[in-house]
């Protein structure tokens, strides 16, 4: 093993310590910037009495954004957030189209053509005992 001169040793030590403090500082900065000041977004939406949504109805809930469906089998909901990069898809006659990169989904939310890979998320709809609809987005 080659001998390390005093000068090289000091230089190596200095550089190691500088790099370590730099990384520590960078890590601290990263954590500092990562703090969340805002409450987590709402994941539960009260949609009011279930009787407001008659059978065979399709209701656009643009605030969530989601599409609420009422069929013979009960209530279901589709998230309208494109699974590619998060734009809100537009409901068309026979499905959904994303205005950002052109992904197309059928009426059930399955991908017809890309760039999206995954189908639109199905959201959980719950009917409370007093007949209110609750939509869960998580």
């Amino acid at each position: 093993m080659p001998e390390l001169s005093r000068r090289d040793f000091l230089k190596l030590t200095t550089n190691t310590l500088l790099t370590a403090s730099g990384l520590l500082g960078f890590g601290a900065l990263f954590r500092f910037l990562g703090y969340q000041t805002e409450p987590l977004p709402q994941t539960e939406f009260d949609l009011g009495p279930a009787s407001n949504y008659p059978i065979d109805s399709r209701t656009l809930l643009s605030k969530i954004p989601a599409l609420l469906l009422h069929t013979d089998e009960g209530f279901s909901a589709l998230s309208l957030v494109c699974t590619h990069l998060g734009c809100t898809v537009e409901p068309k006659e026979s499905g959904f189209t994303c205005p950002c990169h052109g992904s197309k989904y059928d009426a059930e939310g399955s991908v017809l053509n890309g760039p999206a890979q995954k189908k639109l998320n199905a959201l959980r709809v719950e009917v409370t005992t007093d007949g209110n609809l609750i939509l869960h987005t998580d």
Partner: protein, 344 residues
């Protein structure tokens, strides 16, 4: 007289070839002039702009429709920013097509590239500060792209966005980046970049013994040409700003429905077009980063022009570097045009 930075940049005489429009296109100097205009108009906008989600778009409407000369000021800021990107790109192309990046100017080439990246980030953050219906989907897409980066994506997203979705924390962060976090390094780099141009003997020319053209111009002539360029750029900017308003849209309201097609800001249209092809990380992050790495490597991996060939366009010995940049430039322009074709 004690020499100043002005005298550093303007020596008593310089070779005439260093200030010929047809060689330099005056692009670097024009970019510095535009940067000055951006600083002044941006500082003035700060007197009215309010960086909160409720107030941002409204305060911009106030500047645009109520404040005397506010619309002109905002249009000047907008157009100077767009011209800055174009002029910087022209400057980059000029430097590569004339082989000016070889040592000793190699490091300054890297400084210039860093400035170019920062100016794109400045333009994007400035665009987001509008916080109106025109920018909301570019914000969603741009920030979701960060999430697709393996391993660090989620924490990077949180550090930049300040939450799990864009909100008031995001706006204040973009504001801080725009006027301080990006502006400060940009100002520093502009000074360093200009300082090194002079330090390394001015605009690239063959060494004195190989020069065929011994004509020189005086400091006064150089300043005259600079003022001429500033007058020309300034008039073009004024005409654009008077007749073409900067984009503005209604404030974002949660119920705002999407209408028609959504487009990225013009300098990211080429990325938007690639994103239509599939995997967001590959097309939206990896490819742009690879292009940047190729640009960084141009002075290192390609055959260099001979020193005697400097000072003119398309030196033969560095043809490969020119072809590479030309392919990148044409690809970006074609993708940008493709992105303008409506989605069926």
């Amino acid at each position: 007289m004690r020499p100043s930075f002005f005298h550093h940049l303007h020596p008593p005489t310089i070779p005439a070839a260093q200030s010929r429009w047809r060689y330099t296109l005056g692009a670097g100097g024009t970019a510095i002039f535009l940067a000055l205009i951006l600083t002044i108009t941006g500082a003035l906008e700060m007197f009215y702009y309010i960086p909160t989600p409720d107030q941002a778009a409204i305060s911009i409407q106030t500047i645009t429709y109520f404040v005397p000369f506010g619309a002109l000021l905002r249009n000047l800021h907008f157009w100077a920013a767009q011209l800055f990107i174009i002029v910087s790109a022209v400057h980059l192309v000029r430097v590569v097509f004339t082989g000016a990046y070889i040592p000793p100017r190699r490091f300054n080439y890297l400084l210039g590239l860093a400035l170019f990246v920062i100016s794109i980030l400045l333009n994007f953050t400035g665009y987001i500060l509008r916080w109106d219906q025109g920018i909301q989907w570019a914000l969603v897409v741009g920030t979701n792209l960060i999430k697709t980066i393996p391993f660090i994506g989620d924490s990077l997203y949180q550090a930049l966005i300040g939450g799990t979705q864009p909100g008031s924390a995001t706006l204040i962060r973009f504001y801080a980046w725009h006027i301080f976090g990006l502006m400060l390094p940009a100002a520093f780099l502009v000074g360093w970049h200009a300082f090194r141009v002079r330090r390394e003997g001015g605009i690239a020319l063959p060494p004195p013994t190989l020069r065929t053209d011994s004509e020189r111009i005086t400091r006064n002539e150089l300043v005259r040409r600079e003022i001429l360029a500033m007058l020309f750029t300034g008039s073009a900017l004024l005409v654009l700003s008077i007749f073409t308003p900067a984009p503005i849209a209604p404030p974002i309201i949660e119920m705002s429905p999407l209408s028609g097609e959504v487009r990225a800001p013009w300098f990211f249209l080429w990325v938007q077009q690639m994103l239509k092809w599939g995997d967001p990380f590959f097309w939206g992050v990896l490819i742009p980063v690879i292009i940047l790495i190729i640009l960084i490597l141009i002075p290192y991996i390609f055959p260099r022009p001979a020193e005697s060939e400097l000072g003119r366009w398309f030196p033969k010995s560095s043809g490969l570097a020119q072809v590479t940049l030309a392919i990148i430039a044409v690809a970006i322009i074609v993708l940008t045009l493709l992105a303008l074709i409506p989605i069926k």
